[in-house]
Amino acid sequence: MDARRDIKLDAEFGSWWDRFLAWLDVEHSASKRFMISGAIWVLVGTLFGLIAATEYYAPDLVHGVAQLSFGRLRPTHINVVAFGFISMSTVGAIFYVIPELSRTKLHSERVGNILMLAWNAVITAGIFCITNGITEGREYAEMPWFLDIPLLAALLVYCWLVWMTVLNRKEKQLYVTTWYVAGTTMWFPIVYIIGNKVFFDVPGAGDAIANWFYGHNILGLWFTTNGIGLTYYFLPKITKNPLYSHLLSIVGFSTIAMFYTPTGTHHLLQSPVPEWLKAVAVISSIMLLVPVMSVLVNFFLTMKGKWGMLGTNIPLRFIITAMWFYLLTCFTGPFQATRWINWYLHFTHWVVGHAHFALLGTFGFIAWGAIYYCVPRVSGRQWYSRRLANAHYWLSLVGTVIMMTSLTIAGLIQASAWEEGTPVYRGVIMVAPFMAMRAFSGVLIVTGQLLFVYNIFKTLIFKEDPLEDPLEEAATPATPSPIQA
């Protein structure tokens, strides 16, 4: 009924162009559509990852099709989940959170929606380019130059939107989340410019320095600062506890940009690049424990007395799970960046596992939690199914844990085999069972995403009424057991 009435109203509104403009101007629509796009991209991206993981174990599964070759699927997977899923979901959540914190509306809903369309177009074009072999050949920056420029333009538009919203705020005080998000808008365009060959061209081994400056800072100064900033909003908001310490949040924020920026060269510790740069990278990698510890102590102490909410509140559960993964990531990270541990672990699957810890375990879970939290608030509709969300959580969690375990074990096997003098290709045979395990974990994760996308479509596109209780309330208690009675 609702849908039909909408169509009728639209018809009265005017021509298709006017209707399109009206479609762009709906309040909260940019946030909502960014999150829907993120949800679609997570399904697409993990599917690419699953195919690649399966091919890694069974290399003869697909052959003769250039687009489905492992070497092309892997960068596609990375770009879709990083720039499609995590970035778009986070931006969607930011478009809800920042106006809330500023007690105002998003500066321009229309620009936000055009940004959403452009961003989706760039990701779609990126998939076509990378699978067809048009690539820049640098990790996390595979998109060719003619997509780098629109993506940079999109980033700048996003920065402008955030800044205009913050500048027009009715609330004078800036909350931590706003620092993080606004800070990101200042430094991430610089990082992106340095990381892409079209803007910053260095030949030879120096190219690797620029590449890894970008490669590490896309994690540190884009995903981390946005994800942590959002968590600073969600945790006090959901638990209704005040933030444990304002001082710790200042410490965490002011050190993160300082210590994250020079860490990139720890990816090149045994490569022929300047030694002083490696030393700077290793020291700042270890110093990263400062922002990480201050943030995590702050979060976990904010949770004081409210841990029981994890059982009933699904967005909170996602976010706290992400924080535990963040703890693991950021405790292994500084140590594997030191020369003596990097000597052993570099080039192994351990590093791949670590990347999944950070991107899937931490920022993926934050993005899901943010979507689960924001969707009812931007659309006014409760989630279609609490059970589906629950299943999505458990499938993702179990899949992620299996993936971490198998990649970590495989990495240790490879490292010790190489240390022994075993040739690399025999190491491949040794880790094959763990690669099968990794592919299996991919099946679980993709299944979870299928349920997620189904849920979000039922909620937002088909606008069906909720089957069960809302995600953030206690599930209906079962009939009391005879003992309790």
């Binding site: 070759s69 030879g204 190489w418």
Partner: protein
Amino acid sequence: MSTTRANYLYPSIGMGLILSSIIFVVVLVPRWTFRPAQPKDLRNYTAQELRGREIYKREGCWYCHSTVSRPQDWDHGPKSKASDYYYDAYHLIGSERSGPDLANIGGKFPDQYHMLHHQNPRYVKPGSNMPRFDYLSNQELIDLTAFLQGLGPYGTRALDPETGKLKYARLDNFTWTTGPFKGTQEVLAKWNFTPSEQEALNNKRYEEHLEVPYKYRMEIEELLFGTSHEAQAARGTLLVIVNKSRINGLDVTEESLEKKREEDPSFYAWTELDFKEPAVEPTDPLELKALNTKRKYANYGKGLFNNQCAACHGLNADGHGQAAFGMTKRPANFWDDKFQRYNVDTWYWRISRGVPSTQMPRWEYTLTAEQRLTLAAFLKYVARNKGLGKLEGMESDYGKLPSQAVPVPPITASGAPVAKPIPAKAK
């Protein structure tokens, strides 16, 4: 309102300054200061090799194959230098190794191997999980192979730093527009070696190994002069292979050795005995006894060899063992000339550490020092005599060694020790 904003303004400017100074230090300063010189041992890419490099990038080869050889890597060739990347417009160092490192792949395999390997890796390497690149056209496969064969110090791009001429490859049919090389037409870079040149190249590759066993030379000296139980057990066998030297008329001790080494780091406290069979059996009883002692120890080594090594290396030590049938890398043929160049510490190192990238195990986990030394005696004998010589049958108590070490008597002119200088540890 304005005062509130000012509170945020100054910290923002401060943080911006800190951030931009960090970016200045870690990105822009290396951009200006880190400029490796043009290498003298590497030529620029040809147009064909650049096409191959594009394919290497396009197909994502670099996600699984790094192109940086690190100090801790086994059998990946010499450590990569910054100047190795001088001609690269973009780096392809990579971040993960599902397959071996390719920084020094050039010249390691024949062109045909690469062509087959890219069409289906399982043709030449069972168990490999590399994707099939059977969708590449023939020309693309050739270009890719040309690129790969150019990498590293044995590749087609290697130059002689002294003369500036190509070291191994002949690009007779290749068109150069600039530079010192002007040829005709571009084809797949090929090695057109005469057999003797090929042999010289092989020896060249083995030269690397002569620099490695420095650690094992020290270990042998520990066995010669040390007081441990293992040293005492191994000393008798070792004395059959080497002659203990004297310094200033005194037996070498740990202290005198230390002192001597400070003066001359390449100093050797022993000379090696030759295992060459004389043309006629010596008549001097002392000489005959020395020769028989050597044969006896070589025979002990043969017992061990038959037991542990012959399955792959063959009973005649010619590399044609039964288990060698299915191997992609053939076991060594010890009759080969190049093994005459192996010193006792090279043998000892080779047996102890095994050969990375092959099925050859690390015997230091299985055999005692003494057993490895008898194997070294046997292998020196085989290499020197190009065959089993006068080693007849095998000792019935193979693998067992005489309880009392029998020192070899002083050697006279006919059994002159091989005093071959060994290069000092590579700096």
